[in-house]
């Protein structure tokens, strides 16, 4: 039963989601040119630099592009809104628009959005997977 005792209560769906309070995204920022990346890096795609610092990404931004997905792999609930958000500190992020109906009346280009987290599912140890999306803000 020790396994259950050591199981984390929650885990982020991706490493670049930091579940601190408040939750936010983190990025590897190139020390030479400032380009930001969400994956682990070998070198910078923008300038070739090899030195990075971890930075917090702004949780507020603008909806720059979206699509309302009606056909997806069988296990994925549809419709949902996939979006590209440009954060206020200039980082592009892809995720779903959440907590709002999936239609063009409620989802509009240029609208303000803010990062929000939610529980996706739970594994056999009771660890909750936490994902992030963006919801309309003012």
């Amino acid at each position: 039963m020790t396994e259950e005792n050591t199981a984390p209560e929650q885990i982020p769906i991706v490493t670049y989601l930091n579940l601190a309070d408040p939750p936010h995204l983190k990025a590897q920022e190139c020390k030479s040119c400032g380009a930001r990346f969400f994956d682990r890096r070998n070198a910078c795609a923008s300038c070739g630099g090899g030195s990075f610092a971890e930075v917090a990404v702004s949780s507020d931004g603008v909806l720059q592009a979206f699509t309302i997905v009606h056909r997806a792999a069988p296990s994925i609930p549809v419709p949902y809104v996939s979006a590209i958000v440009k954060t206020d500190d200039g980082t592009s992020v892809r995720s779903n628009i959440i907590n709002t109906p999936a239609d063009v009346e409620h989802v509009t280009l240029g609208m303000r959005v803010a990062l929000a987290t939610y529980e996706v599912a739970e594994d056999d140890r009771g660890t909750k997977c936490i994902a992030f999306g963006y919801e309309p803000s003012s």
Partner: protein, 400 residues
């Protein structure tokens, strides 16, 4: 080094589901057809490049040789996303340009059957303990949670980004692209679909990924296309009839993505296309206004609209007005995808980047029958594969 290069022969199979043939049969039909069209044979070939996305690892070029002639020439098996066919063609072009070959055969082929929606991953259902894995440390498939990985969705977002940057671009303008290409395909007997739909039917067909409806998405299918490329020097040793039908390759360009800030979350299909077209116009010594027809990569209707801008066929930001003006229709000032495009002609991935060369060459030769663009002298072909890779070729009719 050879300075001028020509398409001597070209052929494409019908695009459709062809379950009774295998991928080697399809490649053989295209290869034999192209050599027959150029009045040459396998013994004349100094190089073979065979492009296929899903079957390239199977040594398809060698399997093709086994069917049409094993002459011991170098074979390159090429795979480069949706630019695979153009890359095979360019492989032959580079070899001739370098002076290693005088004549070569490029083949593009794909047998996809009913693959359905590409690149959308199912969620794993057998995992019981979350462990971070991969470059992003994900604990499950993120498709559908952190946005979409499906092709209709990715290209929908590319179109919507253009709409965000250019006020007034809307759903109806995207839909017009598909209405046009379906209408064009009714004149192409090799097209997978040859049925016209009204704009309303396009807009009201089942939504795949807004704003792309089902009729705004290319189908999967089977098919092949091939081209024989020859140096100018060798061409001039051939018959007058062969020389008359030869089509000049005025530019052959391949680009990949330069870094852009949002490239890690949304493939940038714009910058590399713009770069490729700029380089191609410069190499050919012409401008977009000199083109008589264009075959561009309309994998989805949203893609075609933004490529009007990327290929500089319209004013910057003016792609919506361009389709509204009627310019890209076959009777317009800049006919685009008179073959029916990927949306209706079909998109067997490896074949596409040579099938577009077949289409343009056929018009430049004045052999396109009912769908002939009158007096076509110069044409451009464009393909883009996500990842990304972009191929642009400019072709010119022989001056006779």
């Amino acid at each position: 080094m050879n300075s001028d290069l020509w398409i001597l022969g070209t052929h494409m199979t019908p695009f459709r589901r062809q379950p009774d043939l295998d991928v080697v049969d399809l490649a053989s039909q295209a290869a034999l057809g192209a050599m027959k069209d150029g009045e040459v044979g396998i013994a004349d070939m100094d190089i073979l490049a065979c492009g296929s996305l899903f079957q390239a690892s199977a040594g398809l070029g060698q399997q093709l040789q086994d069917q049409i002639g094993q002459t011991g020439i170098p074979v390159y098996n090429v795979s480069n996303a949706c630019a695979t066919g153009a890359t095979a063609l360019r492989t032959v072009i580079m070899s001739i340009k370098a002076g290693e070959s005088e004549m070569g055969l490029a083949v593009g082929v794909e047998q996809m059957g009913k693959m359905g929606l590409l690149a959308g991953a199912s969620r794993r259902s057998d995992e019981n303990v979350y462990e971070p894995s991969g470059r992003y440390g994900s604990v499950m498939s993120v498709d559908g949670i952190l946005g979409t990985n499906t092709m209709p969705g990715v290209f929908a977002q590319a179109g919507m980004k253009y709409a965000y940057e250019n006020d007034g671009v809307d759903f109806e303008q995207f839909a017009k692209v598909a209405q046009k290409n379906h209408a064009h395909s009714t004149m192409n007997p090799l097209a997978q679909y040859q049925k016209e739909f009204s704009l309303e039917e396009v807009m009201q067909s089942p939504m795949t990924s807004y704003p792309n409806t089902l009729l705004m998405c290319c189908p999967t299918g089977d098919g092949a296309a091939a081209a024989v490329v020859v140096s100018g020097e060798r061409l001039r040793s051939l018959s007058t009839e062969q020389q008359k039908r030869a089509v000049k390759i005025s530019a052959s360009v391949l680009t990949s993505d330069p870094y852009v800030e949002d490239g890690q979350v949304q493939p940038d299909v714009n910058t590399l296309t713009r770069n490729a077209s700029t380089a191609a116009y410069e190499a050919a010594g012409i401008g977009p206004e000199d083109l008589d027809l264009v075959e561009l990569h309309d994998c989805f209707a949203t893609a075609e609209l933004i490529h009007y801008d990327n290929l500089q066929l319209c004013e910057s930001g003016g792609a919506g007005d361009f389709i509204d003006s009627g310019a890209p229709y076959r009777n317009g000032s800049m006919p685009v995808n008179v073959s029916g495009g990927l949306i209706s002609k079909g998109h067997p991935i490896g074949a596409t980047g040579i099938a577009n060369v077949y289409e343009v060459a056929t018009h430049l030769r004045g052999e396109a029958g009912d769908r002939q663009i009158p007096d076509a002298k110069v044409g451009l072909t464009h393909v883009i594969g996500l990842g990304s890779s972009c191929g642009v070729h400019i072709l010119e009719a022989a001056a006779v």
